[in-house]
Amino acid sequence: MEILAGFGNGLLVALQPENLLYCFVGVFLGTFIGVLPGIGSMAAISMILPLTFYLEPTSALVMIAGVYYGAEYGGSIASILMNIPGTPSSSITCIDGYPMARDGRAGIALFGSAVASFGGGIIGMIVMAVLAPGLAELALNFGPTEYFAVILLGLVAASAVSNGNPIKGITMVVAGLMLGTVGVDITTGAERFTMGIPEMRDGVHLVIVAMGLFGVGELIVSIRANAKGALQNEIDYKKFYPSRAQWKAMFAPILRGSGIGSFFGALPGTGQTVASAVAYAVEKKVSPNRESFGKGAIEGVAVPEAANNSATQTAFIPTLTLGVPGSASMALVIGALMMYGIVPGPRLLVEHSDLFWGLVASFLIGNILLLILNIPLIGLWVRLLKIPYRYMYPTIIVLICIGVYSLNNNVFDVWLTMAFGWAGYLMRLFRFEPAPFLIGFVIGPMMEEQLRRAMLLSRGDATVFLTRPISGALIAITVLLLIYAIASALRARRRAAQATDVSSEIEAPSTSNKG
C-alpha cells in the first residue's frame, strides 16, 4: 500500500510539465547519442551532465535517467542495422538483430526491440519500486563499519566479476580510489596532491574524468573502427509491425529476459552486459525455436533487449538505497546527486521521497516516450547512421570541448580532459577497463570517510570490520567473490590455452567498441 501511495505521488511529480519535458529531452538526446557508433551511454551521460546543473535535482535526475536508457536503446539500433554495438551491452542484440536486418526485416527487429525494451523497463521498474524501500530500511541500521564493508563488496563485485581480467579490474578500482583523494580533504581541510594548482583544489571534476576516459577515449578507438564507412545498404523500415505469431513468440522471452535482467541489474557489478548475455544463453537452451537463434530469430532480439533494459532500471536499487554504484553509469548518477548535496543512501528514500518516487514514475513515462518516439523516428536514426563518421567525430570533439569548458569557464579543464582522454585510450590499449576506475574515483571520498569514522568509533581497532556480524558477513562474501573471480579467470585462461576452437557463443560479434 505504501508503495502504491509513493508511486502515485511520484507519478504526480513525474507528470509535472517541466519534468515531462526533461524526460522527453533526455530520452531523445540519449537515443540520439546512443545511435552514434562508438559512443555509449557513459559518454552520453557525461555530455548531458553539465546541462543538468541548472535544473532542480528531481528534473536533473529524471533527465539523466532518460539519457541513460535512451542511450541504451539507441545502442541497439546501431547494432541491429550495422552490426556495430553502440554500447557494449547491446553487442548481444547484434547476434540475431543484424541477420534480421540483412533479411529485410530491420523494421520488425527495431520494433521488436522497442517493445522488448519497454516490457523489460516496466518489469524492472516494478522490481525497483517493491525492493528498494525494504533494502533502504535494512540499511538504515548500518553504521560506518557496515557501510565500509558494503562499499568494499560493491567495489570488488563491480571490478572483479564484470568482464576481462579481475586483477586488472581491481587495480583500476584502487587507482580510482587513490586519485579520488586529489583536492581538499573534507575532514581536515588540507590540500592533497594539488601541485599548488588552484583549479585542483576541488579535485578533478567527475565530468572531466568521465568525458576524457569515455568520450575522448572511445572516440579515438572508434575512428579506425568506423573508417570502413557508414550504413550503406537500403534499410526497409516501413514494414515494422510484427505479425501475430511474432508477438506470441516474443511474449515469454520478454518475461524471462526481464526476470534475469532485473536480478543481475540489482547486483552490484554485473550490470546490463552480463544480464543480456546470461538471458540470451538461457533462452537459447529453453526456447522451442532454438535452432534459428543466431540466424535472425526475433526471440534473440527480444531477450537481450528486455534483460538489458530491466537491468538498467534495477541498477538504480543499490545506487540509490546504499549509495553503492554497480556500474560506471551509476557512479555518474551518484556523482551528479552529490553535486546537488544529496547523499545517496538509505536516508534518501526518507528525506527525498519525492525525488525517489518521481524517478521511479519517470521510468514508466520515459519508457512509454521511448516507445512512442521510436516508431516515427526510426527513419531519422537510419539517416543519422548514414552520415559518414569523418563528419561526425570532429563535431563531437568540439561539443566535448564546449561541454567541459562550460563547467567552470576554464581552459584548464580542457587540458585535463585531454590528459584523461589519452589515459582512457592507453587503458583500452593495455587492456585495463576504465569503468572500474571511474567507480573507484566517485566512491573514494565516501569510502575514506566511512573508514575514518569506523576507526574512530572502534578506537583504532581494525578488527571491528570482522567482529561486527553484518560487516563480518559482508567481508566474508567479498573474500569469497574475490577467490571465485580469480579462480574462474585462471580456469578460463587454462581452457583457452588448451583448446583454441572453443569460442564462446555469447561472444560479441564486434569487440571494437568495448567500453
Binding site: 581480467n165 586483477i167 586488472k168 587495480t171 584502487v174 587507482a175 580510489l177 587513490m178 583523494t181 580533504d185 575532514t187 581536515t188 588540507a190 592533497r192 596532491f193 575522448v216 572516440l219 579515438i220 575512428i223 579506425r224 573508417a227 559518414p388 569523418r390 563528419y391 567525430y393 570532429p394 563535431t395 570533439i397 568540439v398 566535448i400 570541448c401 564546449i402 569548458y405 562550460s406 569557464n409 581552459v411 580542457v414 587540458w415 580532459t417 585531454m418 582522454g421 589519452w422 585510450y425 592507453l426 587503458m427 583500452r428 590499449l429 593495455f430 587492456r431 585495463f432 573514494g444 575514506e448 573508514l451 575514518r452 576507526m455 574512530l456 578506537r459 583504532g460 581497532d461 581494525a462
Partner: protein, 162 residues
Amino acid sequence: MRAFLLRLRRNEEEARPPHAYLGALGGAGLLALSIVFIVGGYELGVGSPRRLGTGAFPVITGFILAVLSLIVIAADLRNTEDAERPDWISFAAIGAALAVFALTVGRIGLVPGAFLTVITASLPDPSLPILGKLVLAASVSLACWALFIGLIGLPFAPFGGV
C-alpha cells in the same frame, strides 16, 4: 601532406601488432603513480589508527595499488597474445584538437577556435579532402555560435578574447 599521411597510415596497418607485454608498461605507470601517492601521503601525515590523518587513505590505497601493479606487470610479461593495434595518428590528432581548443578559445573566440579544432581533429583523415574539411569546420563553428551563444547563452566570445 596527404601522401605522407597515407603512407604513415599504411605503415601502421602493416606493422606487426605488438605483444601484450606492452600492458606491463601500463602496470609500470601505475606503480610510479602509487609511489608518488605513498611518499606524498606520508608527507601529509598518516595520523594514528584512531584518528587517521590526511595522508592515510592515499598511503593505504597506494600500497595496495603498488602490489597489484607488480602482479599486473608479472602477468603481462608472460602474456604472449597479440595486443590491439594502436592508432597513434588518431591519438595525436584528437589530443591536438583539444589542445587547440584550449589555446584558442580564450584568445581568438569560439568561432575561429571551433573552426581550428575541427580542422585539427580531421587533419589525418585522408578520406576527407581539404575543401570538405574547410566546409565541415565552417559549418560546425557557425552552428556552435548559433546554438551555444545565440540560443543557450553560454559566456563565450564569438570572436576575439574574453
